[in-house]
Structure formats: structure tokens, C-alpha cells
């Protein structure tokens, strides 16, 4: 019985490793996810049916109900969510995972208070319980905040000296749980205080961080959830939980660094740099002035029609307007007329890494038309027309010129070097980083105002009549 369970756990662990490996390669990613998922299901079923415990029926029913409810809710949420809202959802799920670990720790400690001294858990067990509770709680509230921010329903809040405050609080948390462990204390009260403090800390940890950096934060919190899972694994010395958790822990950490690298920032800068917020201020400060040239669909259409090289720069706006299909239509139309059209993909265009790739893949744009930033930048000088669709920060020269700017140092698409720049957005409003973009005032630039979808549609119509 337990042997079978152990073998199942072994298999599950292997599926996790293999699945994670496959997730790292575009060709195999989908399969990898399914493999890992299958392993997980197997492990869950095994845990439920192959344990060697005496479990009363009604607990079984309760358990079944819980599993069912959770599955349905999870499935429903996953299926209903809009493409562009997926990162939020991941963050939310991640929070739930953390909460689960937190609750587990809580219950285990509770049980430990109820048994007589003979059966009391060793200090190392208590330590793992404390770790599960604190880390779980931090990930829980942290993820919720990240979710709210990505959702746009929460702005960056910055208490005075928040960095100092947070770090002190973290140290406090560690000291406090250490105290609980070594005092061998039995009081639920202390643990509740610890729990509460951890929840607060998770909250305070994330609120100052700019919304644009949430994906990084989520990845970091995700790594934390993994660690808390691993810790509970030690609690039950359950290998799948241990290995699976650690895998997520280390993979998540590496991923976090990779993401920072993509925005060329350090993790420290992301967490303590309070990115988004300075943005708001500096945008208030640096008011760029100058004249903005408007252009019409017909003029823009003419420009593109007689150009030999056109580069499309998609941004978050394309996603908002769900204009991926019309842009593809435009691209094909121009290509038919002998214009050489490609898309310039900025690594952090949109709201999640690979957002643009995903979006354009949805409308069957062929991969070789998507050119990465480093490959396209040298090609702008002999590009006739750049068509910027709903992108803003990723083409903002401030990243080069303005050291005070929050995006200063982030590599951008150097569209200025092109001969003509057509920019489509609905207004002069700033983008994610909330800052002015002097590109709009550039001599070569002209604005094509309007919702991306309708604007591109009218471009297509104009082209048809040529």
C-alpha cells in the first residue's frame, strides 16, 4: 500500500522535473505542462486513497467536497479569464497556494498544543511550522496586492521610510518566530500574532513596488510559495512536496532574475527602487512641450503603401483594442503590395513577457515576422515607416536621454532612427510608467489618434481604394 504510494510519488516527482524542463522550450512547453499536471493529479489521487490512516467517512466526504469545490472554482476562473488578465490570475492562484501552506502550519501547531508534553513536536518541527506560517502568509497578502495592482484597482502607496520599515519588520518576524521555537511556547496567541504580522508584512512588502514590476514580484512570490510547500513537505516528510516545492523555489528565483534582466534592472532596484511611483512624480514634473502633428488614415495609408520597409511596433494598446487580427490583415495586405513588413517585439511590451508574441500568434502571424529588439534596432535607419500601435514606454527616448526618468536605462526600440513614424493611440495619455513621451513631438512623428482596431481598419479600407 504505502509502497505503491511511494512509487506514485516517485513518478510524480519525475513528471515535475521533466515537465519543468519541457516548459522551458517553446516546442515542448505545452506537453510539459500537461505532463506535470498529470503527475500532480496522480499524486493527489494516491494521497487520498493509498494512505494508511483510519479516516472516518464523513471526513472523506468533506475532503471530497473540498477537492471538488476547489477544482471547479480553479477551472472556472482559468477558463473565463481574458488573455490580458492572465498574469493577475496567476498572482491570485499563487496567493491561494501560500494561504494553503499558512493554514496547514496553523492547524499543525494547533494540534501540537493539544497533545500532552510526551508527544510534543521537536523544536525543528516547530521551526518548520513557523516557517510555513510566515512564508505562506507573506506570499498570500503579497500576491493579493500584486493581483490588485496588475488589475489596476490599486495604486502604489509609499509610507515614509518604507524600505527601512519593511526590513526592520522582516527582522522582527524572524526574531519572533525564533523566540516561539526556542521558548517551546504553547500559546496559540503568539502564533496568531506572528501570523497577523506576517500578513501585514506581505502587504507592506509589495505596496510600494510599481505596478509595472508586478510580474517580477509575482515570480518572486511564486518562488516563496514553492519554498513554503517544500517546508510543509519536510513536515510530513513527503518527497513530492519537498522536491516539487524546491524545484519551484529555485526555478522561480532564476526566472525572477531573468525577468529583471529583460527590463535591465537589478532585483534590488525592482524591490527597493519604487519604480512606478517616481514615475508618477516625474511625469508631474517634466512637462514636455512642442507641437504634435496629427495625420489621417488616408495619408498614413499612402505613406505605407509606397514605403519599401515598414516596421510595426505593437504595444499594450494593441492588446487592449484586441486589434491583433486587423493588424495581421494590414500586414498581409502591404506584403502583397511588395512592402517588406515585420513586427518589432520589445521584450517587455504589453503587460507580461512575451505578451506581444502570444497576441500575434493568436492571429497566426508567422514567427519569422516577429523580430526581437536587438535584431531590429540596427535596421531602423533604413526603415521608411515605423507604425507604433498602442505602444508607448517601449519607444520612449527618455530611457536614453533622461536620467531622472524611471525607465532610464531600460533598452528601447530606437524608432527615432526611422525616416517616418506613425503613432496610433487614443489620446496623449501616458503609458504604464505614467510618463510623458517626447517621441510624440518628434519632427518625423505624426499621431493617428483613435482606438487601434478602428484606426487600423480604416487604414485597410484606404489601402483597398488604392
Amino acid at each position: 500500500m504505502t509502497l505503491l504510494l511511494n512509487i506514485i510519488y516517485l513518478i510524480a516527482t519525475i513528471t515535475f522535473v521533466v515537465g519543468l524542463k519541457m516548459l522551458g522550450h517553446p516546442a515542448t512547453a505545452k506537453k510539459g505542462n500537461l505532463i506535470a499536471g498529470a503527475g500532480m493529479v496522480l499524486a493527489i489521487i494516491g494521497t487520498v486513497f493509498l494512505h494508511d490512516l483510519e479516516v472516518p467517512l464523513f471526513i472523506y466526504l468533506l475532503l471530497g467536497a473540498a477537492i471538488l469545490t476547489g477544482s471547479l472554482i480553479g477551472w472556472f476562473m482559468a477558463m473565463k479569464v481574458k488573455m490580458t488578465k492572465m498574469p493577475e490570475l496567476v498572482s491570485l492562484f499563487n496567493g491561494f497556494g501560500g494561504a494553503s501552506a499558512m493554514v496547514i502550519g496553523l492547524v499543525e501547531f494547533m494540534k501540537n498544543t493539544q497533545v500532552d508534553d510526551a508527544q510534543k513536536a521537536s523544536s525543528s518541527i516547530i521551526a518548520t511550522i513557523m516557517a510555513a506560517i510566515t512564508i505562506g502568509a507573506i506570499t498570500f497578502t503579497g500576491s493579493l496586492v500584486a493581483w490588485a495592482k496588475l488589475d489596476g484597482s490599486m495604486k502604489d502607496i509609499r509610507l515614509p521610510k518604507y524600505n527601512l520599515l519593511n526590513n526592520l519588520m522582516l527582522i522582527g518576524l524572524i526574531a519572533f518566530s525564533a523566540y516561539i521555537v526556542y521558548s517551546g511556547s504553547n500559546s496559540m496567541l503568539l502564533v496568531y500574532i506572528l501570523l497577523f504580522a506576517s500578513l501585514i508584512y506581505g502587504f507592506l512588502f509589495v505596496i510600494p513596488i510599481g505596478g509595472a514590476d508586478m510580474p517580477v514580484v509575482i515570480s518572486l512570490l511564486n518562488s516563496l510559495t514553492g519554498i513554503s510547500a517544500a517546508i510543509t513537505g519536510i513536515l510530513y516528510d513527503n518527497m513530492v512536496m519537498l522536491v516539487g516545492g524546491i524545484l519551484v523555489g529555485s526555478a522561480g528565483l532564476i526566472l525572477t532574475f531573468a525577468m529583471c534582466k529583460a527590463m535591465n534592472r537589478s532585483l534590488g532596484n525592482v524591490i527597493f527602487g519604487a519604480f512606478g511611483g517616481d514615475a508618477v512624480q516625474s511625469s508631474a514634473a517634466g512637462k514636455t512641450t512642442g507641437t504634435v502633428r496629427k495625420t489621417s488614415a488616408s495619408d498614413a495609408a499612402v505613406l505605407m503603401n509606397y514605403a519599401s520597409n515598414v516596421v510595426i511596433v505593437p504595444g499594450y494598446g494593441l492588446a487592449v483594442a484586441q486589434a491583433q487580427h486587423v493588424i495581421h490583415e494590414l500586414e498581409e495586405m502591404l506584403t502583397k503590395r511588395g512592402v517588406n513588413v515585420v513586427y518589432a517585439i520589445h521584450p517587455v511590451a504589453g503587460r507580461m513577457p512575451g505578451h506581444m508574441n502570444v497576441l500575434l500568434a493568436e492571429s497566426n502571424v508567422s514567427y519569422d515576422k516577429l523580430v526581437e529588439m536587438d535584431d531590429i534596432n540596427p535596421r531602423f535607419p533604413n526603415t521608411d515607416v515605423v507604425f507604433v500601435v498602442g505602444a508607448n514606454d517601449v519607444v520612449n527616448p527618455a530611457a536614453h536621454n533622461d536620467p531622472s526618468s524611471p525607465i532610464y536605462g531600460m533598452p528601447i526600440l530606437d524608432v527615432e532612427n526611422a525616416k517616418q513614424i506613425i503613432i496610433n493611440k487614443r489620446s496623449m495619455n501616458p503609458g504604464y510608467a505614467g510618463i510623458e513621451n517626447e517621441l510624440f513631438y518628434n519632427q518625423k512623428a505624426s499621431m493617428l489618434f483613435g482606438d487601434a482596431k478602428s484606426a487600423i481598419q480604416s487604414l485597410i479600407n484606404e489601402l483597398k481604394n488604392m
Binding site: G74, G97, S100, I218, V248
Partner: protein, 102 residues
């Protein structure tokens, strides 16, 4: 301190597993294309749902008259399951957007 020592010497193999797993995690993920960062994050998040196993064990280990324990266990399981099922499902949807790149 000697709590730690006792822990180390009694869970030696555990520690090896830990370290090896860390290495694997690092090896597998380093140099992944930017495009895959999000699906990978989402997939990893789904994996972190293993914690559900613990939640299940909690419920099965709690004795029937400990209602608070059961209630909490119930919550833990629900939350865990949401993370697992939702996580894998959403990852799958994300990856659905990708054509195989050759």
C-alpha cells in the same frame, strides 16, 4: 543551535535531496527565451500547488471532533486545489497561443 545539528544529522539524505533539487531547478530554467517567461511562471505556480498534498493530509489526520481543525483543513484544500487546477489550466491556455517554433 543543537536543534539544527540534530536536524541535520537526522535528515541528512533530505538535505542532499534539497540541494540536488535546487541544482536541477537552476539548470532547467537558466536561459529560457523571454517569450516563455510568463507561461513558465504560471506553470511553476501550478507546481507550487503540491502544497495541496499537505492540506489533504491535514484533513485526514485531524480527529473528527476538532471542528476548527477540519474547517481550516477544508479551506486549505479548497485553496490548494484552486491553485493546482487553475494553475495548470491557465498555463495550458497561455501556451495554446503558441505555434510550435522550429
Amino acid at each position: 543551535m543543537n536543534g539544527l545539528i540534530e536536524f541535520i544529522s537526522s535528515n541528512l539524505q533530505l538535505i542532499y535531496i534539497l540541494i540536488l533539487a535546487i541544482f536541477i531547478g537552476l539548470e532547467l530554467i537558466k536561459n529560457v527565451p523571454t517569450v516563455l517567461h510568463t507561461p513558465l511562471m504560471s506553470g511553476a505556480n501550478a507546481l507550487s500547488g503540491v502544497v495541496i498534498m499537505g492540506a489533504i493530509l491535514v484533513m485526514m489526520n485531524t480527529n473528527p471532533d476538532n471542528y476548527l481543525g477540519l474547517a481550516l483543513g477544508f479551506i486549505a484544500v479548497v485553496l490548494g486545489m484552486i491553485n493546482v487546477v487553475g494553475g495548470f489550466a491557465v498555463t495550458d491556455r497561455m501556451l495554446h497561443m503558441f505555434k510550435k517554433k522550429k
